[in-house]
Amino acid sequence: MNGPTQLERLLGDDPDRSDGDDAAPVVDAGCAAGFEVLHLYVESELAGGDPAEELPGLAVHLRRCPACHEDYLGLLESAGRFGDAGPDPV
């Protein structure tokens, strides 16, 4: 068992983490702003895109926020399963 690595799971990832040594840290979108683009993130993923690249602030947030991550999992599943259910109502 790797204690330190697992301890870091309790602490979450580095709040100033970035994707490269010289890159600026990605700003966490937060719950409210993340919700506003969650559908775009899920659609990108379902389409085989790279939502973490397109919406890095939400990607960071989903790694850290268990509630929003659970919402993401639920939306991903429902959009995949029921996304084309019935005619578009609008």
Partner: protein
């Protein structure tokens, strides 16, 4: 944007069809999340009905914001998922011990707390984490960290307990983790945050 902005029979038909879609998603989402809640069939369906009803209200109120960047269904299902999470939060405490409080970390690990059992076997690390929780967090940060990270309380359930909201609780959790990371980094247990490395 026709159906939801129409009037008369066409509007009513559109709303009914949309509600049916939202209810189907709500039932699926409630079922997906319900494993640890101890809710039975009728209770689960009641949660799904309420979530679909409230999601429909949200969709109707915000449909003008839909810009066609995704399928309408994906945009609308967000509200169902959010409502299910919120409503299940109300039910969380019904089958939970009342002593998941700010001192809970002192009794950990125990049978209700799978995370410390599974992830922190080294007593030294646990001691350091416990000391940091005790000494370095504010009361609110300690309550939030212990409830959500150690005891696995859903954020929406704990936000309701605090009379707060998810966004505010997340901010407290973020600050608590950052403070714990700083404390444990100073003791050499974890890597310091990049901002502290640069400082």
């Amino acid at each position: 944007m026709d159906g939801l902005q129409a009037t008369g029979a066409r509007y009513q038909e559109c709303v009914a069809r949309l509600h049916a879609l939202l209810l189907r998603v709500a039932r699926h989402e409630v079922s997906r999340r319900s494993g640890s809640l101890g809710l039975s069939g009728p209770e689960l369906d009641d949660v799904a009905q309420q979530a679909a009803d409230d999601a429909l209200m949200a969709v109707k109120a915000k449909v003008g914001d839909f810009r066609g960047e995704s399928r309408f269904t994906t945009w609308a299902y967000r509200f169902v998922v959010l409502e299910v999470s919120s409503k299940l939060g109300r039910h969380f405490w019904r089958n939970r011990p009342a002593d998941l409080d700010q001192d809970g970390w002192e009794r950990l690990p125990d049978e209700r707390s799978p995370v410390p059992h599974d992830v922190v076997e080294h007593g030294e690390l646990w001691d350091a984490l416990g000391a940091a929780i005790r000494d370095d967090l504010t009361d609110l940060q300690r309550r939030v960290f212990v409830a959500i990270v150690l005891n696995g309380v859903p954020m929406d359930a704990f936000a309701r307990e605090l009379g707060s909201n998810r966004n505010a609780v997340y901010k407290v959790l973020f600050d608590a983790r950052r403070r714990l990371r700083s404390s444990l980094a100073a003791a050499g247990y974890v890597a310091p945050a990049r901002s502290e490395e640069r400082a």
